[in-house]
C-alpha cells in the first residue's frame, strides 16, 4: 500500500530524512520508533504534504500513486490520514461542521456524492460515543478547550468518520492517561481491516502493548536502522535506543 524508497527530505535545506525505505502492505500495522530528533515528525509531515517540508530525492507511493506530487488535501482524498501529535484549536469552526466539510471535500475530489446530513450525523454520533466524547464537544469549536486526551480522541473520531486507507498516527499515545490510551487503542484495533494500513509513529512502547504491530522499525538519524517483529519494541524498552544501535 505505502512504498517509500530511498527518501531524502528536510526543512529549509537541512536534510533530516536521509535515505529512508519502507514497505507497508495493505492490512498491516507498522510502528516506527525512534529517539527525539530522529526525524519521526518530519517523516509524517513530508508524507502528508506540509508546506516547507520538501522531499529532495526518492519516491513515495500510495497504492502506486505518486504521493509527493499531490497537495496535502489531495493526499487526504487519496486515503491518507495524519493524526497529529498536537491537534490544532480552531475557534469558531465547529467540530461537526469541520468534519462534514472535510468529508465532503474528500468525496468531491474522488468524484463521489456528498454524504447526507442524516447519515453524517448518525455516523458522527456513533463514533463520538465510541471514543467517549460528548456531542457537546462535537458542536464546540474544533479542539477548543479540549484536554490533551480529548484532542487525541477527537483525532480518532475524525479518522473513524473519514475512513482513510492509510492512517499515519504521530505520537497519538503521548499525553494520554491509561484509560484514554485503551479507548484509542480499541478504536485502532476496531478499524484494522485487510484494506487499511496503519503507521504508528511513537517514542514509547506503551501503545504497542495494546495495538500489536506486524512490524517495528527503528528510526535513527533519518534512516531505518533495524526492522523486526513486535518483540523489537520490548527490546527497545529494555535496552534503549543506544543499546539497539550498538
Amino acid at each position: 500500500m505505502l512504498k517509500i524508497e530511498d527518501l531524502h527530505a528536510g526543512v529549509e535545506g537541512t536534510e533530516i530524512i536521509k535515505g529512508l525505505s519502507l514497505d507497508l502492505p495493505a492490512g498491516e500495522v507498522h510502528a516506527i520508533m525512534g529517539p527525539n530528533g530522529s526525524g519521526k515528525s518530519t517523516l509524517s509531515y513530508v508524507l502528508s504534504g506540509r508546506d516547507g517540508y520538501e522531499a529532495t530525492a526518492g519516491s513515495v507511493t500510495l497504492d502506486g500513486e505518486d504521493l509527493l506530487s499531490m497537495e496535502a488535501h489531495e493526499r487526504a482524498a487519496a486515503g491518507l490520514f495524519l493524526g497529529l501529535q498536537y491537534p490544532v484549536e480552531i475557534p469558531g469552526v465547529s467540530n461537526v461542521n469541520f468534519l462534514r466539510t472535510a468529508l465532503n471535500a474528500q468525496r468531491k475530489l474522488r468524484g463521489e456524492d456528498e454524504i447526507s446530513a442524516a447519515d453524517f450525523l448518525r455516523e458522527t454520533r456513533k463514533e463520538a460515543e465510541a471514543f467517549d466524547l460528548s456531542m457537546d464537544h462535537m458542536k464546540r469549536g474544533v479542539n477548543v478547550g479540549f484536554s490533551g486526551g480529548e484532542k487525541k480522541r477527537n483525532e480518532m473520531i475524525q479518522m473513524a468518520v473519514l475512513k482513510p486507507r492509510l492512517a499515519l498516527l504521530d505520537e497519538t499515545d503521548s499525553g494520554l492517561d491509561i484509560d484514554a490510551l485503551r479507548v484509542v487503542a480499541d478504536g485502532i484495533n476496531r478499524m484494522r481491516s485487510p484494506d487499511r494500513s496503519f503507521l504508528l509513529i511513537t517514542h514509547y512502547q506503551r501503545l504497542l502493548d495494546y495495538v500489536k504491530p506486524d512490524k517495528v522499525h527503528v528510526l535513527q538519524d533519518g534512516r531505518i536502522t533495524r526492522t523486526g517483529g513486535p518483540e523489537l519494541a520490548a527490546e527497545l524498552e529494555r535496552e534503549g535506543y543506544v543499546g539497539i544501535a550498538a
Binding site: 502528508s48 504534504g49 506540509r50 508546506d51 497537495e71 496535502a72 488535501h73 493526499r75 487526504a76 482524498a77 490520514f81 495524519l82 497529529l84 491537534p87 490544532v88 484549536e89 480552531i90 475557534p91 469558531g92 469552526v93 469541520f98 468534519l99 466539510t101 472535510a102 468529508l103 471535500a105 474528500q106 475530489l109 469549536g141 475524525q158 473519514l162
Partner: protein, 369 residues
Amino acid sequence: MTLPQRLDELNLPRRHEDWRWTDLSAAEAALSASPANDAAPDATPYLIDGIEGPVLLFVDGKYVEAASRPGPVRVEKGVAHDAGNGPLAEIAAQHSLHKISLSGSGQRVQIVHIATGGQAHLDLQYVVAAGETARVVETYAGGGESWVNLALSASVAERGRLRRAVRILQDAGAWTETVNGHLAADAHYGSVSLIGAAAAVRSEYDFVLGDRAHAQVDGTMVAGARQHFDIVGRIRHQGVGGSSGQTWRSVVAGRAQASFAGRIEVARGARQTDANEDVKAILLDRTATANAKPELEIFADDVKCAHGATVGELDKRALFYMESRGLPPERARQLLTEAFVADAFEAVENADLRAALGEDARRLLERVR
C-alpha cells in the same frame, strides 16, 4: 467648492489625529455626480428574511414614504436639533433632519438606504423612551459615484435599550457616519456593523454613558483592493458603574487599509467602570494595512479598563491541519476567515439577523480572498 475647501470653511480639523487615516477622495468624487433618479425604488431586495416589522426606505438621503411601511414608528421631518460634534455631522445637519421615534415600535425596524449617485446626507435622530426597547437594522445599498453621509444622534432614556445593526453593502462610493449617543442611567446600547462594500468608510462614534449604562459597539471590516475603512471611536464613562465593550475584527487584503482608533475616557468620579476594547486584524496580503490605536484616559479610581490589539496572518498550523483532513486551501481559508469575523456578531441575539450578517460577511470575504 471641493470637499476639503468646504471642510476648511467650516474650520474643521482635517489635520487632527482623528483624521489621520481617513480618505475622503471617494466622497469628493461624488460631489460632482448626480442621482440616477430611480423611478420605483424598492426596499424588498435588502430586507432580511424572517424579520417582520416596520420598513423605512430612504433614497439618496430622502425619505420615501410611499415605499415605506412605518407602522407605529413616527418619522418627523425638519426638527432642529444639535447634530453633535464632528465636521461631517455638521454638513449633514445642514440638510433635512428625520427624527425617528422608535419607542413603541416593538418589532425590529428595518431602515434601507439606497444611493444612486451624488451626495446623500442623512440626519437621523433615534429616540428611545425610558424603559423601552428598540431595535433597528440599517442597510445601505446602491452605489455608483455616491457619498452617503449619516449623522445619527441616539438618545436612550433611563433603562431604555437600543440595538442597532448596520450593513454597509453599497457597492461603491463613500460612506461616512458620525454617531453621537447619550445613554441615561441604566440604559443599554448595542451595535454591530458590517463594513465591506464601499470604496471608503469612516465611522465615528462618541457615546456618553451615565450611571450603570452599557455601550457595546462591535463590528467587522472586510477590505480588499484599495478599499479604505476607518473607525474612530470614543466612549465616555461619566457615571458610576458603567460598562462598555468594543469588539472589532478586520480581514484586509490587496492594498486595502482598515484602521481602528478607540478612546475610552473615564471621568472623575466614574468609579467601578468596566471598559473593554478587543481589536484583531488579519492581513491576507503583505500589501494590506491594518492600524489599531487604543487609548485610555482614566481620571477615576477603582476602574477596570482592558484593551488588546493584534494584527497577524491566518494561522498556518490551522490551515495545514484543515488541508490534511481534505479541505482545499481556499476552503480552509474561507472557514478560518469566516470564523474570525463571526466573533464580532456573537452578541447578536436574533438568529435571522446573525445568519444574515454571516451571509453578508461570507459574500464580502469571497471578494477579497
